[in-house]
Assembly symmetry: C2
Homo-oligomer: 245 residues x 2
């Protein structure tokens, strides 16, 4: 499993992903699930991936190689003129990777599916956030649904739904995401530290802060330990049930 | 879907269940998922059910009818001498209901599976809490895992894990459960109000408080509305992330 979140804020975009991959509980590994492409002053695109690791790595490699071979730069993630076309390019690449594996060779026990979050900005338009499905279609975030989750989404969703505020600073948003990730990590063995974080400030057109939060990170430990107490205090602040109500 | 929780406390047992059943999103109904058998001074048993409604209703009917026909009182939920044997009786009944449907007649799109929580006390032993699987086996709660959830368990789990305390009063436990149910109801359309609650006080050997919490219940609304604010306050009480950490 995996847990990744892409979130739109008034100040920009925040992306967070875990690094655990597994084939059964007896075969876990660590892989980066966040990839970023930057052309300073022009575009920054970040992709978060969940699903079959061979599929997601092939997807990132194909997107990368296309960007590296000058004679084959069309379509390229550095050449598409809009985020919508970037989403289309990624969606088509993803669909073809999956169908290559699904229709040829041996059948696998699990599917070759993968789901992708695309977040970024290309000059001339505001930052945009997409969720791309293995079928090759995609949806875009809006003010009604300003964040996307992929992978193990359920444990960490209630706190996002309740506490998300578009006016949050990056620092507040990272705190909120760490609570959401910590709840998920505590409940699902297949989501694990370290976590990758990328914040992109609107109209900066350069990679913002990119950090890896390791298990011994003091701030993460403060949040993880403090959240239990904070929740108990929150619960205490509400009136107790009474059978007379 | 469904959401039910059975919880052991120092003071007794708390059971809560929603009432929504659905076959697709265009066919929802309301059914009670909590059944209770009482022999005052002797035993109280409560069953919570999740899964195929025909299966769970057949299970409850079989357990009920067996208890009503005097000549067929062996095995009966009123005659078994221990909670362990009650769990065995329910597990065997559940398994036979499922296999009757699964092995004969038309194949259904969805399975006939169901999962059951059994909570209660029979004189001579302490209160006990079981989770019974459709395969006919079961597990028992312990101090390590003092509560069981069935149905849509994920959204409401983090708050239970963080805030559960065996020393809670019934009133505090109901508050905690309402927060857990509210988080689930907000996220999954197939879990819905009203909620049934039953509290059983250890060694009382009679049905405790049995209540139905409707959508217009003032206390539920206080919790549902207040929890968002309480969570934001809890999040504010933790230090913000800083890139220097």
């Amino acid at each position: 499993m995996t847990y990744c979140v892409g979130m739109m804020l008034d100040c920009g975009l925040v992306m967070m992903s875990d690094t655990r991959t597994n084939a059964g509980v007896d075969n876990i590994s660590m892989f980066r699930k966040m990839a970023t492409w930057e052309e300073p002053g022009e575009r920054v695109l970040t992709v978060l991936t969940a699903g079959n690791l061979a599929t997601t790595q092939a997807l990132i490699s194909l997107l990368d190689e296309r960007s590296k071979a000058p004679e084959d730069r069309e379509p390229s993630i550095f050449a598409v003129p809009s985020m919508f076309q970037a989403a289309q390019l990624i969606a088509n690449t993803l669909k073809s990777v999956i169908s290559d594996h699904a229709n040829e060779g041996q059948k696998a026990d699990s599917g070759f599916n993968a789901t992708v979050i695309l977040a970024g900005q290309i000059k001339g338009a505001p930052p945009r956030l997409f969720m791309i499905y293995p079928q090759g279609n995609f949806i875009e975030a809006s003010t009604d649904t300003p964040f996307f989750q992929i992978g193990e989404t359920k444990y960490g969703k209630p706190i996002l739904v309740r506490a998300y505020d578009p006016k949050m600073s990056f620092e507040e948003a990272i705190k909120l995401l760490l609570v959401s990730f910590d709840s998920t990590i505590k409940a699902n063995l297949s989501v694990g530290l370290p976590l990758d974080v990328h914040t992109y400030a609107t109209d900066s057109f350069k990679i913002g802060s990119q950090t890896r939060i390791e298990a011994d990170n003091k701030y993460f430990q403060t949040i993880s330990n403090g959240w239990g107490e904070a929740l108990k205090t929150a619960l205490d602040s509400l009136p107790n049930y009474s059978h007379d109500d």
